[in-house]
């Protein structure tokens, strides 16, 4: 298989085209703009649609229209732009429309900065818009994984009729790595629900999110949450590294996990039994897998490029059976492997000194 050296953002766009994305609608924002630029250059040559919208809001609603028309469609942005898209994301979810939304995260809140961040975890996982709904959220940690997850995102968006988010960041989007694209043949599913014109051969299709009767609205939400149960059992992805005998389990997602992995290796060299647990899907969260990875642990260290967001989920899932501590940098700063190693060493000293113990909690 051919190996290419590509930037994360461009590899993502190429993977989307190969995965059958017919329409891309976007709006310029750093650090995701290479995605739009790649589509702008390639879609006209490959029978696809690229359109630069007048706003993030318009872009996500164009995705809604294209998805309702039955084609694979996507948009991408960076943090402040995703906030603008959240109205449309809620409507997409409520209308059971498949699509892919990419967030190449930058520092926030507000206009924040343009350097990498992971501070949109809450937004992606808990509150991507108003109302009761979820997105499938993929958190790649390399350019290759960005590519692989882009294929998965389109496939699962169609399979479960729901929006899927790829939660990248400025680091993964901007860096170059060797990458290969799978040769899998893309089979586009039939969408009998789509607005394609009924040709007088069926009753009219309606794409809608309005239910004025509380019982009808509750039923539609319940049906969707039944589907989320299938998503949980069929889509959850995670990776564990050196966890089987780990005394300290470091949890991290995306770019942070790359740094944490180096720190775990350094800790091992120093004789500290450290391991890494990495959720690859943030929704659904790999709960069982996390518990299994922590089976021999005395404590957990959650590292993120934010002020502590995923750490709340780690604590909820472990139900206070283990001490869970947090280390993070934010504002576009990236923790070094040495920073994380220092935290692991401190934690290790406290465990050995009896100051940190799971059994006492």
């Amino acid at each position: 298989m051919e190996r290419l050296l590509m930037k994360g953002n461009e590899a993502l766009a190429e993977a989307a085209i190969r995965a059958g994305c017919k329409c891309f609608f976007g709006y310029p924002i750093t650090p995701q703009t290479e995605i739009s630029a790649y589509f702008a250059k390639n879609m006209p040559k490959r029978n696809g649609v690229f359109l630069q919208a007048e706003s993030e809001i318009a872009a996500v609603n164009m995705v809604l229209g294209a998805s309702a028309a039955g084609v694979r469609a996507m948009t991408s942005s960076s943090s402040p732009g995703i906030s603008l898209k959240s109205e449309g994301i809620s409507y997409l979810a409520a209308s059971d429309l498949p699509c892919v939304i990419v967030n190449v995260q930058r520092g926030g809140p507000g206009l924040g900065g343009i350097q990498p961040s992971q501070s949109d975890y809450f937004q992606a996982v808990k509150a991507a818009g108003h109302g009761d709904f979820h997105l499938i959220v993929y958190a790649p940690a390399s350019v290759q994984e960005t590519v692989d997850m882009t294929y998965l995102a389109f496939e699962n968006a169609d399979r479960y009729r729901m929006p899927v988010m790829i939660l990248s960041d400025g680091l993964l989007g901007q860096m170059m790595e060797p990458v290969s694209f799978p040769d899998t043949e893309i089979k586009l599913p039939e969408k009998e629900w789509a607005c394609t014109g009924h040709k007088h051969r069926r009753t009219h299709n309606i794409i809608n999110s309005l239910y004025l009767q509380p019982d009808m609205l509750e039923k539609s939400v319940n049906d969707r949450f039944m589907r989320y149960e299938r998503v949980k059992s069929e889509c959850t992805l995670s990776e564990e590294y050196l966890c089987s005998d780990a005394d300290i389990v470091v949890t991290a997602f995306g770019a942070s996990a790359r740094i944490a992995r180096s720190a775990v290796d350094s800790a091992r060299k120093k004789g500290i039994r450290a391991g890494l647990f990495r959720p690859k899907t943030l929704y659904p969260f790999p709960e069982t897998e996390l518990k299994a990875s922590c089976r021999n642990a005395s404590a957990v260290l959650c590292t993120e490029m934010n002020m502590g967001q995923m750490v709340y989920d780690i604590r909820l899932i472990l139900e206070n059976t283990l001490p869970v501590e947090f280390y993070g940098r934010t504002g576009g700063n990236i923790p070094s492997p040495e920073d994380i190693l220092t935290q692991i060493e401190k934690m290790n000293r406290r465990i050995k000194g009896g100051a940190l113990s799971g059994s006492s909690i």
């Binding site: 809001i57 164009m62 229209g65 294209a66 084609v71 394609t196 014109g197 009924h198 794409i207």
Partner: protein, 249 residues
């Protein structure tokens, strides 16, 4: 016996939720007649955003999408770009098209997006109970302009046809009225042209229809029709504001 008048096929045989005397019913019928006459119901996708017409997906026989408030031109753009062979129309009120969705409206026009927009201007937010709209005329009393729209405090109405005529991308824009038989026949012609333009690839075509809201205006249906003639047409003159359909493309 020969039937000489019937419900258009593209208009579903269901009761609507519109208030008695409201002109939505007339305008729905005109659109449905055009879909029948051009034989395009089976190839048409309608987009109705938030407002009184939000439930129009139950009334038109073609495939229908309910869009977020103001976003119908963007949603219609997505449909049309994904399926250029489909006929795509939006049906939007004044709050939707001229306030929260102004950006989407102007840019769909600027792109000369090949869609048809039917714009219902009744100078108020009907669905939420009659608040001041971007098209509420100076002095008009609404729930949120209880002393009459004061231009010193609340600014001026937006005249959509006049504004869009100044946009290079706009292909066709006409203001019509639903107040009387001659005006309704004129409205039908304009709506038909706006759909024909799309079939001919002419591009962004918008028809503004001056409409009534007897409930929120606090008037009988006939007094509301009279208000269109006495107050609205003088402020919003009827006519074609731009038409490039006869120019070479």
């Amino acid at each position: 016996m020969e039937a000489v008048f019937d419900r258009p096929h593209a208009l579903c045989d269901v009761p609507t939720h519109y208030c008695p005397g409201c002109t939505h019913g007339i305008i729905h019928r005109l659109i449905a007649e055009v879909l029948d006459e051009l034989d395009i119901e089976g190839d048409t996708v309608g987009v109705c955003p938030v407002g009184c017409s939000v439930m129009a997906y139950d009334y038109f026989g073609c495939d229908m999408i309910e869009a977020p408030h103001g976003r119908a031109p963007a949603v219609a753009t997505g449909v049309k770009r994904a399926s250029p062979d489909k006929v795509v129309f939006t049906y939007q009120g004044d709050g939707d098209l001229a306030a929260i969705g102004t950006c989407e409206t102007v840019h769909a026009a600027a792109r000369r997006e090949n869609i048809t927009v039917i714009f219902i201007n009744n100078t108020t937010y009907g669905m939420t109970g009659g608040q001041m709209a971007p098209t509420t005329i100076p002095g008009q009393i609404t729930q949120t302009s209880p002393y009459g729209r004061d231009t010193a405090m609340q600014g001026y109405p937006i005249k959509i046809c006049e504004m869009l005529a100044a946009v290079d991308g706009t292909a066709f824009v006409q203001r019509v009225s639903a107040d009387s038989v001659p005006h309704i026949l004129e409205a039908k012609k304009a709506i038909r042209k706006a759909f024909e333009n799309q079939l001919n690839g002419i591009g962004f075509s918008l028809v503004e229809v001056l409409s009534t809201c007897p409930t929120n205006w606090g008037m009988t249906p006939s007094a509301a029709m009279e208000r269109i003639r006495k107050e609205l047409i003088p402020y919003y003159p009827l006519g074609i504001y731009k038409d490039i359909s006869n120019q070479s493309k």
